[in-house]
């Protein structure tokens, strides 16, 4: 599992995940992802386009970071999940808790005003 971070104009963190977000994959990125997403107020786009498989352990990581972030006044959105990953997110009810976008511009718009303060 790979994790790549960049910053978009406006202070938005763009985190690209790729690979299988199963037990081993999630363990490989969990600490870095949590430090990056849950330790401060931030506006974060988690790009799932490269994630080919997402198990509940991976959803837990996304959910717990999104919760911690929200408590600090930050916000997380998800971007471009592959069709089966999107299906699993919706089955688990995650998509109603962490908004899912298919367009980076729309995702950034949803985060406007949230960036690090």
């Amino acid at each position: 599992m790979q994790m790549n971070v960049s910053e978009i104009d406006g202070g938005i963190q763009h985190i690209r995940l790729s690979g299988r977000m199963d037990m081993a994959g999630t363990q490989a990125i969990d600490l870095r992802f949590t430090v990056l997403t849950a330790s401060r107020r931030a506006a974060i786009v988690v790009d799932l386009a490269g994630v080919s498989f997402l198990a509940s352990i991976g959803m837990r990581t996304l959910l717990s970071s999104a919760k911690a972030l929200a408590m600090k006044g930050g916000r997380m959105v998800l971007l471009n999940p592959q069709p089966m990953v999107a299906d699993a997110l919706s089955t688990a009810g995650i998509d109603t808790l962490i908004p899912v976008y298919t367009d980076l511009g729309a995702a950034c718009q949803a985060l406007a005003g949230v960036a690090a303060g």
Partner: protein, 139 residues
């Protein structure tokens, strides 16, 4: 497979080889893989009351266009189909972290059965072809 979480990747690879042999559609192999990961994670995380070695027996079988994964373990009796999945949370603040695996198993597989037999749990999960999500609605 040995009843350890670090063996899940090897189990998924075994499932992928079986799926390749049958040329299973992506959506079916995804759902079976999810069922495998969630069910084995539950057994290993909550099923063992001792630190000894345990084995989990996996069996895949195809019947027509249906594929069934059977998972047999020697953990404590646990019927994942009888457990109540947590209610869908209305907000991030009240969302529990966990309990998602059982919900995924029930929704993503087309037929699930559980039996306790000879001191072992036996869970069978069957996938049948579904329209792939994201391909638009069929009329």
């Amino acid at each position: 497979m040995p009843g350890r979480l670090d063996q899940l990747g090897a189990a998924s690879a075994w499932l992928a080889r079986f799926a390749d042999t049958l040329a299973l559609p992506h959506e079916m192999r995804y759902r079976l893989d999810l069922g495998l990961n969630e069910a084995v994670t539950n057994v290993v995380s909550y099923g063992y009351r001792d630190a000894g070695e345990h084995a989990i027996r996996l069996r895949l079988s195809a019947d027509g266009d249906a594929v069934t994964l059977e998972i047999e373990d020697d953990g404590v009796p646990f019927d994942p189909l009888a457990a109540t999945p947590p209610a869908r949370p209305a907000s991030l603040a009240e969302a529990p972290i966990g309990g998602l695996g059982i919900r995924l198993i029930r929704a993503m597989l087309d037929e699930c059965r559980y039996r306790r037999e000879d001191g072992r749990n036996r869970l069978t999960m069957t996938a049948r072809p579904r329209p792939s999500p994201g391909l638009g609605q069929t009329p």
